[in-house]
Amino acid sequence: MADRRVTGERASRGAPATEERNEAGTRPMGDVLVSARGLEVHFPVRSGGALRRTTGVLRAVDGVDLDIRRGETLGLVGESGCGKSTLGNALLRLVEPTGGTVTFDGTDVTGLDRRAMRALRRRAGMVFQDPFASLDPRRTVRQTVSEPLEVHGLRSGRRERAARVAELLELVGLDPAVADRYPHEFSGGQRQRVGIARALAGEPDFLVCDEAIASLDVSVQAQVLNLLRRLQRRLGLTLLFISHDLSAVRHVSDRIAVMYLGRVVEVGPAAAVGSDPKMPYTQALLSAVPVPHPSLERTRQRIVLRGDVPSPANVPSGCRFRTRCPYAFEPCPDVDPALQPVGAPGQLAACHLHGVVGRPVEREEAVPAPAD
C-alpha cells in the first residue's frame, strides 16, 4: 500500500487523512470497513429561559479521522468526557453527526434516509455500558434477543426464531432455558451476555462495544472480555472496543486509537501505542497503568498531568492538549496538529514534537488550567 504522508496543509476537513499502511507484526487485515472523515458531533449549549438562545457549542467529537479495518479490533481509549462514546454512537448514527462523513463498507451512511439506515443496522451492532439499563425490564430475554430477527424479517415463524434465540444464547454462554426470564432475574455479567446476543442476532459485520465491561465486577470483566475475543475470532467480527481501561484495551486490540477532547490524537498498532507512544498524552495515560509485577511497579515512572481537561465547549486553540502538556512549546497554540506517521509502521500521532504539521489557526490565549 502506498505510503502517503500527511502534508502541512490539511485544508478541508473532508480531505482524506492518511492512515493506511500495512504494518508488520499484526495479523493480515483486510480493507477498511468503517471509516470516519472529519466527523463532528457538536451540541448546542442553550441558555435557560423561554427563548432558548444558543449560547455556545459543545464539541463532543470535533474532526475525527479514523479507519477501522475489516476483521480487526480497534481499541478506543481516552478519559471520561473525551467524546469516545459519542464517537461510537455517531459511527452508527445513534447520535446524528453534525459534520463529516461515515462510510460503512463503501456506503456513505451519513446521507442515508431513515429506512435505508434501519436496514443497514442489521450489519452493525452495539453493546452498551450498563447492562442494567440496556435491557427493557418489561421484555423477556427471548423478546429482547429476537427483536433484530423480527425487525429485519430474518427468521420467519415462531419456531425458527426460537431456534435462533437458543443458538445465540448458547453462543454467548447462557443456558437457552432462560429465554423466558426477565432481565431482573440475571446478574450483571449474564445481562451483558444477553446484550451481546442481541447485538449479534442480525449477524453483523461490525460491533461497537461502548464501555461494555466498565460496569461489571472485575472477575466478570475478564470473562466478558474473553467472550468478546472468542466471538470476534469465530464470527470474523470487526470490533470497536471503547474503554477508559487501557490495560483491557491492550489485551483485546489489534490497534489502539487515543482520544482527547473530541479528537483522535494517536493511533497505531497496539504493541506500538501500548509500549512506545509518541504523543505526550498517550504517554501520561500509559504511565498510569499499574504493572502486574511488584518490583517493576515500584520503579514505574508516573507522568502526572496538571489540571483538568478543558471543557469541550471551550477548546484551546491549536493543539488541544497544550494546556496540560509538559512539553508544550512555541507552535502549539498556533497550529492544529494533524496526525503524522511517527515511530512504528502504521503509527500516527498528532504532536508537533515530531515536526510541525497541521493547519495554522488563530492563537487564543489559553485558559489557565486550574492548579492542583
Binding site: 452493525a124 451492532g125 450498563d130 418489561r138 454462554g173 432455558a177 432462560v178 449474564q190 509500549s275
Partner: protein, 313 residues
C-alpha cells in the same frame, strides 16, 4: 510494559456465571405480580372489591332494581326508608333504591366513556409530544395549555351548549376536559423513558419509531398513566354529577346520581333521603377510585415494587 495478554480465566464462563438453573420456578407475568402486590395492600384491595360490586350492580341494574326507575306511585311519595323502600321514595313516589341502582349504570357509563376518550386522545398526544419533542412538542403542548386554561366546568358547559345535553355528549364534554391531564402525564413519563438506554439499544438493532413507541416506550411509561386513569374516573363521576346537577348532563326523568342530588336539594329539610343516598353513592365510588389509584401508584412504582416484593415473601 507491552500489552501482555491477561491470563485466560481457568474456569469457563459457561460453567460459572452463565448457569441460571433451568429448574428454577417459571417466571411470573408482570400483571400477575401487580395483582398479587395489590391484594396485599388492604386499602386498595377493599376499594377494588367495592368498585367491582358497584360495577356489577351497574351491569345487572335491571335485574337488581326492585322497581322500574320511572314508576310513579303518587300515594307513596316522600316515604322515609322502610322495608318496602330501603332508601325511601322521592316526591313522585319513585323508589330511590331502584333509581340509585339504575343511576349507577348511567354515571359509570358516562365516567368510563369520558375517561376512555381522554385517555386515548390525551395519551396519544402526550406520546407524540414527548417522543418527538421539538416543534411537535411545542405545538401539541401549547394546544393542551389552551385547553387547560379554561375552567373545567365552563369548558364542559360550552361543549354541551354546542352539542346539546345527553349521556354521550356529557361523556364527550368531560373527556375533552381531561385530555390535557392525560397528555401531560403521558408526556412527562415518555420524556423519561425516551432517554433510557434500552430504547437506544432497540434503535441500534433497527427498530422503527412505531415499534419503539408501542413495544418499549408506551409499556414502560404506562404506570403513571394507569394511576391517572383510576383517579380521573373519580373526577369524571363527580363531573357527571355536577353537570347533571346543573341540568346539562343526564336529562330527567332518567336517573343519574348527580341529577337525583339536584332534584333532592329542594326537599333536603323535609326528606333527607332524597339527596343522601345518591350522594353516598357518588362519595363511595369516588373514594374507591381514589384509593385504588393510590394503591396502584405504590404498586407500580418500580422501586417500591422491589421493596415490597422482597419483604412480602
Amino acid at each position: 510494559m507491552t500489552g501482555a495478554p491477561l491470563p485466560e480465566p481457568a474456569v469457563s464462563p459457561t460453567a460459572t456465571e452463565a448457569g441460571v438453573s433451568s429448574t428454577a420456578r417459571p417466571p411470573r407475568p408482570r400483571w400477575r405480580q401487580t395483582l398479587g402486590l395489590l391484594a396485599r395492600n388492604p386499602t386498595a384491595a377493599v376499594a377494588a372489591t367495592v368498585l367491582l360490586l358497584i360495577v356489577l350492580v351497574a351491569v345487572f341494574d335491571e335485574a337488581i332494581a326492585p322497581t322500574g326507575p320511572n314508576e310513579i306511585a303518587v300515594q307513596d311519595r316522600l316515604q322515609p326508608p322502610s322495608l318496602a323502600h330501603p332508601f325511601g321514595t322521592d316526591d313522585l313516589g319513585r323508589d330511590i333504591l331502584s333509581r340509585v341502582v339504575l343511576g349507577a349504570a348511567v354515571s359509570l357509563r358516562v365516567g368510563f366513556l369520558a375517561v376512555a376518550f381522554a385517555l386515548v386522545v390525551g395519551a396519544l398526544i402526550g406520546l407524540l409530544a414527548g417522543y418527538y419533542g421539538r416543534w411537535v412538542d411545542d405545538v401539541l403542548m401549547r394546544l393542551m395549555d389552551i385547553l387547560f386554561a379554561f375552567p373545567a366546568v365552563l369548558l364542559a358547559i360550552a361543549v354541551l351548549a354546542v352539542r346539546g345535553p345527553g349521556a354521550g355528549n356529557t361523556a364527550l364534554a368531560i373527556g375533552i376536559v381531561y385530555i390535557p391531564v392525560f397528555a401531560r402525564v403521558t408526556r412527562a413519563s415518555v420524556l423519561g423513558v425516551r432517554e433510557e438506554v434500552y430504547v437506544r439499544a432497540s434503535r441500534s438493532v433497527g427498530a422503527s419509531d412505531l415499534r419503539l413507541l408501542t413495544r418499549h416506550v408506551l409499556p414502560n411509561a404506562a404506570p403513571p398513566i394507569i394511576v391517572q386513569t383510576s383517579i380521573s374516573l373519580a373526577f369524571a363521576v363527580l363531573a357527571e354529577a355536577a353537570l347533571s346537577f346543573l341540568g346539562l348532563g343526564t336529562q330527567p326523568p332518567n336517573p343519574s346520581w348527580g341529577l337525583m342530588l339536584a332534584e333532592g336539594r329542594g326537599f333536603i329539610d323535609l326528606a333527607w333521603w332524597l339527596a343522601f343516598f345518591p350522594g353516598m353513592a357518588i362519595f363511595l365510588t369516588v373514594l374507591c377510585f381514589n384509593l385504588l389509584g393510590d394503591g396502584l401508584r405504590d404498586v407500580l412504582d418500580p422501586r417500591q415494587r422491589t421493596l415490597m416484593a422482597g419483604s412480602g415473601r
